[in-house]
């Protein structure tokens, strides 16, 4: 019952081959296109009525591989709403074409266009001789920095990274290849470099209703240090990342990843084995590898979405606006 494209996707998600809110959402939508194209309506029902539950089964499978990202939840919600909007007298072929076209438009508008818009807005805030700090590797931040370099802005970048993922290494590689002058530090050096930093630019996994930022573990530390040093903290987030949820701290909900990666790698030259090699045998010891953390709204100076720039306290107003528009689209056909 589960389409092979979805099974492949599930493996890619659970092995973290594809990670990042936008990447996962795009990959999921491309997989959905295959699913819809291959879909055959069972006898006794219509595509408009059955497709949603069929897709639901695919989504349930995906959820077992890895928790859905906020971007994916937004896309699914809007896709389901679009399916329910299709008139019942449309043929199967027409319905499929319509949905495939809708998915293409969604990706174009809510992802590609949104990123362009965010980069264009954010470029206005990059001044000559800026020292821009970023954490981990965010697709939107990478786009922004590469575009700024393209337009010959004069700036330097400090990439802050954290174990165990060390995703920042790839970002540094890409920036250096583009000719941007970079430094690479781990979180423990933040205090030392912060006096030189002019702004901190972060990516997001989700933006919550209370203005808090859900992002890769370690982001909150960078934001806190920047806030303390009066460095403006700018978050780049597409509207599909805005969530109605509220989360007060990083423990109430989180994703737990493989604890074994937390043990330091063994050093061949060293005769001593790593201390945590047999951690499983120690009865009172548990290793906790959390994937996300929450940055409180008070640490964030500005959020840039395709709508423009807003302070973090206004995330709720934007969500309200987006919801109202979604409702409008839903009501269109009920009349």
């Amino acid at each position: 019952m589960v389409h092979p494209a979805i099974i492949t996707l599930g493996v890619q998600f659970s092995e973290f081959i594809i990670s990042g809110g936008i990447a996962r959402c795009s990959a999921m939508l491309y997989a959905f296109k295959k699913v819809i194209a291959d879909y055959v309506t069972p006898p006794g029902t219509s595509i408009q009525r059955n497709l949603t539950s069929y897709l639901g089964k695919q989504i349930d499978y995906l959820t077992t591989t890895r928790h859905l990202a906020e971007t994916m939840k937004s896309a699914i919600r809007q896709l389901k709403s679009e399916i329910s909007n299709i008139s019942l007298d449309k043929s199967d072929e027409d319905t499929k074409t319509h949905l495939l076209h809708w998915i293409d438009t969604f990706i174009k508008e809510k992802i590609v266009s949104a990123d362009d818009s965010i980069v264009a807005t954010a470029l206005k805030f990059i001044k000559t001789d800026d020292v821009i700090l970023t954490f981990g590797r965010s697709a939107a931040v990478e786009l922004l920095l590469l575009e700024a370099k393209n337009l010959n802005y004069k700036f330097k970048v400090i990439v802050c990274d954290a174990r165990p993922k060390l995703e920042g290494k790839i970002l540094v590689q890409n920036l250096v290849n583009a000719g941007i002058s970079c430094s690479y530090v781990l979180v423990n050096s933040l205090g030392a470099v912060m006096p030189k930093v002019t702004k901190l630019i972060l990516g997001a996994s989700a933006l919550l209703s209370n203005g808090a930022l859900l992002s890769r573990t370690g982001t909150a530390i960078a934001a806190m240090m920047a806030h303390d040093a009066h460095v403006p903290v700018i978050v780049l987030a597409e509207l599909i990342k805005f969530s109605e949820l509220v989360q007060l701290d990083s423990f109430v909900w989180n994703e737990i990843v493989l604890p074994s990666v937390l043990t330091p790698p063994s050093n061949d030259a060293n005769s001593k084995p790593p201390i945590l090699k047999d951690w499983r045998d120690i009865p009172d010891l548990k290793l906790l590898n959390l994937h996300y953390d929450i940055t409180p709204a008070s640490f964030i100076s500005m959020v840039i979405s395709e709508h423009g720039c807003i302070p973090s306290s206004s995330v709720l107003s934007i969500i309200g606006m987006v919801k109202a528009e979604e409702e409008k689209n839903l009501k269109k056909l009920i009349i």
Binding site: S301, I310, S314, S317
Partner: protein, 279 residues
């Protein structure tokens, strides 16, 4: 239609360049785009005023010039009427904040703050005012003169004494030249300092402003408040000593330091301002 827009843009740019030293200025309305004709009694900046008019031109395309002119004229009359109504609303809303026996600290001279204080005096509220001298413009003296006429006890202090008097003060009241997208204020130089002291001393810091002063601008630091070079009047005593101040006469107060804004829409928090701007 686009020719009219072009002429208006040119003329408003011209007006912007010739703006006198205050950020708060007169907005003009152009019928034939040649010279500014009417003066409106407004305290909005050129940018805000012309932005408002130019927004009217957005609907231009399917109208005739005569229709457009009519619509803009109607908008202009409405704007002026609302401007004076807004001041009344602000006075009504804000006067409740001034309790009997209050000691109010105000900065320099602000027309809108004066309107509010005038209303409180008329309602026989007993309060006293401390005014910062605000060098090098010495605008604080204007406030002193106006308040003496109202019969309100007033003290003039040098700008350096703000920290010293803060413990005696019950609230701080300032105007605003503009309110920015995150709810922060752009106001006469010295406002940021006073806001910091008020925050440290746990005193409420209010700003009195009309809603048409809201600007779509998001400064991240003091240097982001871009203004043309406004020279302090040459005949102001000692102006030549301040080479820095002659280029800047406003500063930016971040929203965390502002308790609330008293506007014609009621008392708003800085995040309430943003909500208003979004809708």
């Amino acid at each position: 239609m686009s020719e009219l827009t072009k002429k208006l843009l040119v003329a408003s740019a011209e007006l912007e360049n010739s703006a006198p030293k205050n950020y708060s200025v007169i907005a003009g309305f152009f019928f034939d785009g040649v010279t500014p004709i009417k003066q409106l009694f407004l305290n909005a900046s050129i940018k805000i005023g012309s932005e408002a008019f130019l927004r009217q031109l957005k609907y231009v395309d399917d109208e005739s010039v005569a229709e457009c002119r009519q619509r803009i004229a109607a908008f202009e009359t409405q704007f002026v009427k609302e401007a004076s109504e807004n001041l009344e609303k602000i006075a009504t809303v804000g006067v409740n904040l001034i309790k009997d026996g209050a000691v109010i600290l105000i900065h320099s001279f602000s027309r809108v703050v004066m309107v509010l204080l005038e209303r409180a005096a008329k309602l026989n509220r007993r309060y006293s005012v401390i005014v910062t001298e605000s060098r090098p413009s010495h605008n604080g003296q204007k406030s002193v003169d106006a308040l003496k006429k109202l019969g309100v006890p007033v003290k003039l202090i040098p700008d350096s004494a703000v920290g010293f008097v803060m413990e005696k003060v019950d609230m701080v009241l300032v105007g605003a030249e503009a309110v920015v997208e995150n709810g922060g204020l752009i106001n006469q130089m010295g406002t940021y300092q006073i806001a910091l002291v008020a925050k440290a001393a746990h005193k409420p810091f209010y700003s009195v402003t009309e809603t048409h002063k809201f600007l779509h601008m998001f400064p991240l630091s003091q240097t982001d408040v871009e203004l043309q070079e406004h020279k302090i009047d040459q005949d102001v005593e000692g102006a030549s000593n301040y080479s820095f101040v002659s280029a800047h006469h406003v500063d930016y107060t971040p929203p965390q330091l502002v308790t609330s804004l008293i506007t014609n829409f009621g008392v708003l928090t800085p995040s309430g301002v943003v909500h208003l701007l979004i809708s």
